[in-house]
């Protein structure tokens, strides 16, 4: 029985049987693979600074607060609700504020993160206007471990929302879905590993899985379960080149990666350009950061479409949030308008070791290069998606 197949991005799937060794190996061992399943995906730092440091002006105003500010007279609010059913529908003609955020101007000010620290990676190395992302000038963070030049404008825009703060409803809901929903199973396979402490040349493949994870009685994820690749969705396969330095996997960026993420009850992908990983490998898992420039239009749809109640639960208002994301977005400027179409992100991730397996002989339903050609990163500016005249 073939116990594991290494899945390659390409026209032909090359199956390479390798020993199913998944513990931290001694230097000089035979090339082997490390399988990881993402179990944690968080916006916040593990130990974030005090809210007063990060958000000295307070948290952002909720949709309801903005609605009340928009219609100070209770009678006007009652009439509006009677006509348009919900405080979410705040456009001039009752447009939904999430679908048409530019139809409304929030009266209350929006608060960005003012703190100096954030999770993330140095995506641009200060070379603004250069490189594939052509990043725009922006302030940079320092990572919790002291790394300078951290790019995470998404955190700057979102970090003062109640929902994305540590323990916030959106943060926890997202975390639960990542951990518990097999549709959102992100698998990482590190191939050609000869030394799990220092290896200059490894291949990293990211795939969508289909299987559940299991927690032990203490709430920790049990390692070394088998995880099948979802071979019906090759669009979620990405391949990176990387190296392991002092037990930390560092990959080179790739043009784009699509990641299966669930919000609400639907599988809704995330599109991250200039995507890369930095993971500290352990005997039973890994932890670190994924980063890149997240496509703004795609991200906005992911955040807002599943459930409108997220406005209130998350404690934010769509018009001012969308405006903040556009204002702070720093990557991939539109060649015509010059406005950024992507925003730098950094997510704190955890993973558990697993065996990544194929139950269909290693073949996807369609060749990966075809799938990728058929689904290029969108070229439409986000403002065109969400604006109604």
């Amino acid at each position: 029985m073939v116990i594991r197949r290494t899945l390659w991005v390409g026209l032909v799937m090359l199956a390479a049987a390798s020993p199913a060794v998944a513990t931290v190996s001694a230097p000089g061992t035979a090339p082997h693979s490390i399988g990881l399943a993402i179990t944690g995906w968080r916006v916040t730092m593990a130990s974030p600074p005090d809210q007063k440091v990060e958000c000295p002006d307070g948290l952002v105003a909720s949709n309801l607060a903005q609605f009340k500010a928009q219609f100070p007279d209770p009678k006007d609010r009652e009439a509006w609700i009677a006509r348009y059913a919900s405080p979410w529908n705040r456009g001039p003609h009752g447009e939904n504020a999430a679908y048409f955020p530019e139809t409304v101007q929030d009266p209350l000010p929006y608060h960005e993160v003012k703190g100096a620290a954030a999770v993330g990676l140095d995506l641009d190395e200060g070379a603004w206007g250069q490189g594939p992302a052509h990043p725009l000038a922006h302030e940079q963070f320092v990572s919790p471990t002291g790394e300078q030049g951290i790019d995470n404008q998404f955190y700057r825009a979102s970090g003062c929302q109640q929902g994305w703060r540590k323990g916030g409803e959106q943060e926890e809901d997202n975390q639960n879905r990542i951990a518990l929903d097999p549709h959102a199973r992100i698998l990482i396979e590190i191939d050609n590993v000869t030394d799990e402490t220092n290896d200059p040349d490894v291949t990293v493949t990211i795939m969508k899985g289909v299987d559940r994870l299991v927690k032990d009685d203490a709430g920790n994820f049990i390692p070394f379960l088998s995880q099948r690749v979802d071979q019906s969705l090759p669009r979620y396969v990405s391949r990176l080149h990387g190296r392991i330095v002092d037990g930390v996997l560092i990959t080179d960026p790739i043009e784009a990666a699509r990641l299966p993420m669930v919000n609400g009850s639907d599988l809704r992908e995330r599109l991250m350009r200039n995507f890369r990983l930095k993971l500290k490998l352990g005997a039973s898992g890994a932890s670190g950061v994924v980063g890149g420039y997240e496509d703004l239009a795609n991200l906005w749809i992911w955040i807002t479409r599943p459930w409108h109640a997220v406005f209130e639960i998350g404690g934010w208002s769509a018009p001012s949030y969308w405006a903040a994301l556009q204002r702070l977005a720093d990557g991939y400027p539109d060649p015509v308008t010059g406005k950024a179409t992507a925003i730098s992100v950094g997510y704190r991730v955890d993973a558990v070791r697993c065996f990544i397996v194929s139950d269909r002989g290693g073949d996807f339903e369609q060749p990966l290069d075809v799938a990728r050609r058929a689904a290029p990163p969108p070229k439409v500016a986000p403002s065109k998606v969400a604006t109604r005249n």
Partner: protein
């Protein structure tokens, strides 16, 4: 064959088989004379040594026999998933303990609630048309059909045709139930009464005079059919077997052989084999297996349950599907795996979901081979938070080799190995210190050299090469054989030990007759050992030999059974 294997086998023991049941009284007394009886002699059985015959038995139905029987009669969706009170393990087997079972009022409550539940299901709207099949008249009645149903089902439950008096009584029960409900509530009451009847819950063996040997006794036809069916199918006889018994076919070698061939060719043989190995290998221990979740987080309840199933799947695949040498069970690399078990074995499992089973073969260079290296066995014979060479050694000696290891004395002194300043790193070091106590050394010298060879597996059956930073020495020996190392070496040593096959034969015999071996049965069991070897140690062949033997149906001349109530 090692005589020491049968150290217990040949032990004389005055056995008094008494089964207690509430609301059950009377006795069945067998006749006076006879030493041997059975089917008409054939060439195959001509060489079979004579046996003195055993006593007639009264055996309490087991949980699996109950479920299997009702599933065969009514379908698997009707059989309840209940677990009845356990019986005492005798001669290494629950099957032998069932012959001296005590049924408490609490245990009887379980039988009653189960019986009510089944009867209600059989007669409910979803099942009645298929299982009962009575078309009611304008008055909502059909006594003729009801009587036919009760007669048909009662024969299968009691393993004999019901008498007219019994049927009349069942119909009276039906009428009383119908008076306060309807036809089906009455039928449900009658069926419930059958399901809590001692005639169903107990297998009461009966003897009859042997026409071929006027002074001798033999099991009557229904008792023969029941012994045969419990052995091969872990269930009461089906209609075909009962019919064969009623026509006298089981009293002829040819007729008996036909039924044995039919039964050993049936898929139901798997249930019989599962039941036997569940009993012999004490698999009920898996049902209560729990590990310290902090130390062994991956050993969940699901894993424990799947470890039990892994063992049985391995056995069924080996001894039924592939009909292989029983001894190879201790060396085979083949098994079955789930995704969750893969976490314990640290291996990839390509399955169609978390509950899917797939065949799996350990690599040739793996440290695992045979059922003794499976996670279930290793975890059962261990502590909740650490391995136990002593328990593993004792388990192998008692379960696999049929040897007896006494319980430790109540005042055993663990102070040496529990000394926090002792700094023992490995189990071998701890046990070496422990056996300096002469009162402990006698048994540990027998258990530890065997159990220490499995020290590469922790208390959850997970592989390890070191303990507390010290490399594990898994060397050992078994009964004066060649030294070996690790689970693979142990499996080969057990395979090569004559006690292994002899133990199985001994257990199969006790399982079939519901008791330990008796004085005077040595030649017969030696004969069975030889047949087993000649058949290539195939379990199916052993079962066929046993099922077609005269010894299985022999009744002692002074056999009697007493059933007491209190």
């Amino acid at each position: 064959m090692s005589k020491s294997v049968g150290g217990r086998r040949f032990r004389s023991r005055a056995l008094v088989f008494t089964a207690f049941a509430l609301a059950l009284g009377g006795s069945i007394a067998a006749g006076e004379a006879a030493t041997q009886s059975g089917p008409q002699t054939t060439a195959a059985t001509a060489a079979e040594p004579a046996t003195p015959g055993g006593p007639l038995q009264v055996r309490l139905i087991s949980t699996s026999q109950y479920s299997n029987t009702l599933a065969a009669i009514f379908g698997s969706d009707v059989a309840p998933a209940k677990r009845f009170a356990p019986v005492r393990r005798v001669e290494g087997l629950l099957a032998a303990g069932a012959s001296s079972a005590v049924v408490t009022s609490g245990a009887l409550d379980l039988f009653e609630s189960s019986g009510r539940e089944i009867a209600a299901t059989v007669t409910d709207q979803a099942h009645r048309d298929v299982l009962v099949g009575c078309k009611l008249d304008a008055g909502g009645d059909n006594p003729r059909c009801a009587r036919a149903f009760l007669s048909r089902v009662g024969r299968l439950l009691f393993r004999r045709p019901l008498t007219d008096a019994e049927l009349d009584k069942s119909m009276q029960t039906l009428e009383r139930g119908r008076a306060v409900g309807d036809f089906y509530s009455g039928l449900s009451a009658s069926l419930t009464a059958m399901l809590v009847s001692p005639d169903f819950l107990f297998v009461r063996e009966r003897s009859e005079a042997d026409p071929a040997q006027p002074a001798a006794l033999r099991l009557d036809a229904a008792s023969r059919a029941t012994r045969l069916s419990l052995l091969l199918w872990d269930s009461y006889p089906d209609d075909t077997l009962l019919a064969a018994a009623e026509h006298g076919d089981l009293n002829t070698s040819a007729g008996l052989a036909r039924q044995v061939v039919r039964m050993t060719s049936s898929p139901r043989l798997e249930r019989g084999v599962r039941a036997f190995f569940t009993d012999m290998f004490v698999l009920e221990n898996y049902d209560t297996l729990a590990k310290d979740a902090v130390i062994y987080p991956a050993f969940t309840l699901k894993v424990a349950s799947e470890a039990r199933e892994q063992f049985l799947r391995t056995v069924v695949d080996h001894v039924i599907d592939r009909d292989q040498d029983y001894r190879d069970l201790f060396t085979t690399r083949r098994t079955f795996m789930t995704m969750d078990l893969g976490s314990i074995y640290r291996t990839a499992v390509i399955a169609q979901g978390s509950s899917d089973w797939v065949p799996y073969t350990f690599p040739a260079d793996s440290d695992r081979a045979g059922i003794l290296s499976q996670a279930g066995f290793l975890a059962v014979y261990a502590h909740a938070g650490r391995s136990s060479s002593t328990r593993r050694g004792r388990g192998i000696r008692e379960v696999v080799l049929c040897q007896h290891i006494p319980d430790p004395p109540p005042n055993v002194d663990f102070s040496i190995i529990e000394d926090p300043h002792a700094h023992f790193q490995t189990a071998r070091q701890r046990l070496a210190a422990h056996v300096t106590d002469p009162t402990c050394a006698g048994c540990h010298k027998r258990t530890d050299p065997v159990g220490l060879t499995l020290e590469n597996f922790d208390g959850a059956g997970q592989y390890r090469s070191a303990e507390h930073g010290a490399e594990i020495d898994a060397s050992g020996a078994l009964d004066g054989g060649q030294p070996f190392s690790g689970a693979v070496g142990l499996g080969q040593a057990v395979h090569d030990n004559p006690a292994t096959a002899a133990c199985l034969v001994s257990r199969v015999w006790s399982y079939a007759v519901g008791r330990g071996s008796l004085p005077g049965e040595n030649k017969w069991i030696n004969y069975l050992d030889a047949r087993f070897a000649a058949d290539g140690y195939r379990v199916k062949a052993l079962l066929r030999d046993l099922a077609t033997s005269r010894a299985l149906y022999a009744v002692a001349p002074d056999s009697s059974v007493k059933i007491a109530s209190r």
